[in-house]
Amino acid sequence: MAENREFFYRRLHSLLGVIPVGLFLMQHLVVNYFSTYGPEAFNAAAHFMESLPLRLLLEIVVIYLPLLFHAIYGVYIAFTASPNSFKFGYFRNWMFVLQRITGIITLIFVVWHVWETRLANAIYGTEINFDLMSTILSEPFMFWFYIVGVISTVFHFANGLWSFFVTWGLTVTPRSQVIMTYITIGVFAIFTYMGISSLIAFVSGS
């Protein structure tokens, strides 16, 4: 495998983006959606996740390590491209550019989000609950920052899922790739709806 590093890293990057990071993202958005049922429902759901056994180990193995690799290698990938979608304005080429732009936006958003809602808890013992999110999101700038961050993250996941299917040779024919485009648009729509509803619920529902 030594002479095949690049192939291995690229495939690992593609895999980790979906499993486990993508799966975690979907789970995260589902749990957040409890905010639309009210503060108690959200706090109960968040508390359930917080009290999972081996929480720190789960976080490290399922989230931190895969996410770190995906992010660092992804920045390298993004900056070795020379985007040309103004010259070649095809749909997939725009998706290619957006995948790289949303990757960078998502990285900035996730770093901030992890600091605010996880490291603050680990370092200062800030309690993570409905009220914390309401306070953060009551500031208009942060609300829009979160809106952009959520849309960007879900786009990056949905479009990355499409590439995942090509990269691993699951969708080979143009027809299957088109159908996968529709499916991933559906994934994007559903999770964007869930993410934005949750954010709105935090600011309006308390």
Binding site: E3, N4, E6, F7, R10, R11, I77, F79, T80, A81, S82, P83, N84, S85, K87, F88, Y90, R92, N93, M95, F96, V97, Q99, W162, S163, V166, T167, W168, G169, L170, T171, V172, T173, P174, Q177
Partner: protein, 255 residues
């Protein structure tokens, strides 16, 4: 006749040597019926005078077959990479802007050095060995339907348009580009060529290989020969997936 006074305007990006600065020069030449970009360039060679009426050096470019099968005359014509032999003046907006393909080093004016493509073909062993120390005999027959399918892949003329269109082929990466990948699929699929499949798959998953594809799918849109480049890439991806699992978990047998 009105036709005699009609002219064709060209704006050409020129460069005197590989290391010198490029500059633009404008030309105005008499229109003739059914002109293509090459016949316009030939007119400049016959009478190398620019639009200001100053004598200049004739514009240099490469050409071979003049019927879109050799790939030598590729250049950016009004912003799109294509062959200048099949770029008809009547179908182009004027002034016609000619630029060399910027993925490749310029030799002079519109002529570029496509060596990186030929090096890639060598790297991935995009050929079928038919000679040995002894006569290998005739190859196995191919089903006609498969031959027809493989023929489409064999239309590649190494023209460089897919590399020019690919955002991941640039000076920051050593990606070999779609053309060579599709050739691997072609040679892997023929009865004689498939005997060297393992070597090609090794090369294609090596440095600068298959994994550098970012799925922008510009190549398949840009290819003048309509080669299903992205299908070839996805098919190789599947093969590489199967191979890597088999090599890791399965057997040491090379196929």
């Amino acid at each position: 006749m009105a036709e005699e006074t009609k002219t064709v305007r060209l704006i050409i990006q020129r460069q005197d040597s590989p290391d010198s600065q490029s500059y633009e020069e404008e030309f105005e030449i008499p229109y003739r019926r059914n002109m293509n970009v090459i016949s316009a360039l030939m007119e400049l060679r016959r009478n190398p005078v620019n639009a200001k009426g100053e004598p200049t050096t004739p514009v240099h470019w490469e050409m071979g077959c003049l019927e879109e099968v050799c790939g030598a005359c590729s250049m950016n014509i009004n912003g799109k990479p294509r062959q200048s032999c099949t770029a008809l003046v009547d179908q182009l907006e004027q002034p016609i802007r000619l630029k060399p393909m910027d993925t490749f080093p310029v030799i002079r004016d519109l002529a570029v050095d496509r060596s990186r493509m030929f090096d890639s073909l060598k790297k991935v062993k995009a050929w079928t060995p038919i000679d040995g120390t002894h006569d290998l005999g005739p190859g196995e027959k191919m089903p006609e339907t498969k031959r027809q399918w493989a023929y489409e892949l064999s239309k590649c003329m190494t023209c460089g348009v897919c590399l020019e269109a690919c955002p991941n082929v640039n000076s920051k990466s050593n990606f070999i580009g779609p053309a060579a990948l599709s050739q691997v699929r072609l040679h892997n699929s023929t009865p004689n060529g498939s005997m060297h499949k393992a070597e090609r798959m090794d090369a294609v998953t090596g440095d600068g290989g298959l994994q550098n594809c970012g799925n922008s799918q510009n190549c398949v849109q840009a290819c003048p020969k309509g080669i299903p480049l992205t299908t070839s890439i996805a098919a190789l991806n599947r093969e590489a997936t199967v191979n890597s699992f088999r090599n890791f978990f399965g057997s040491d047998q090379q196929v």
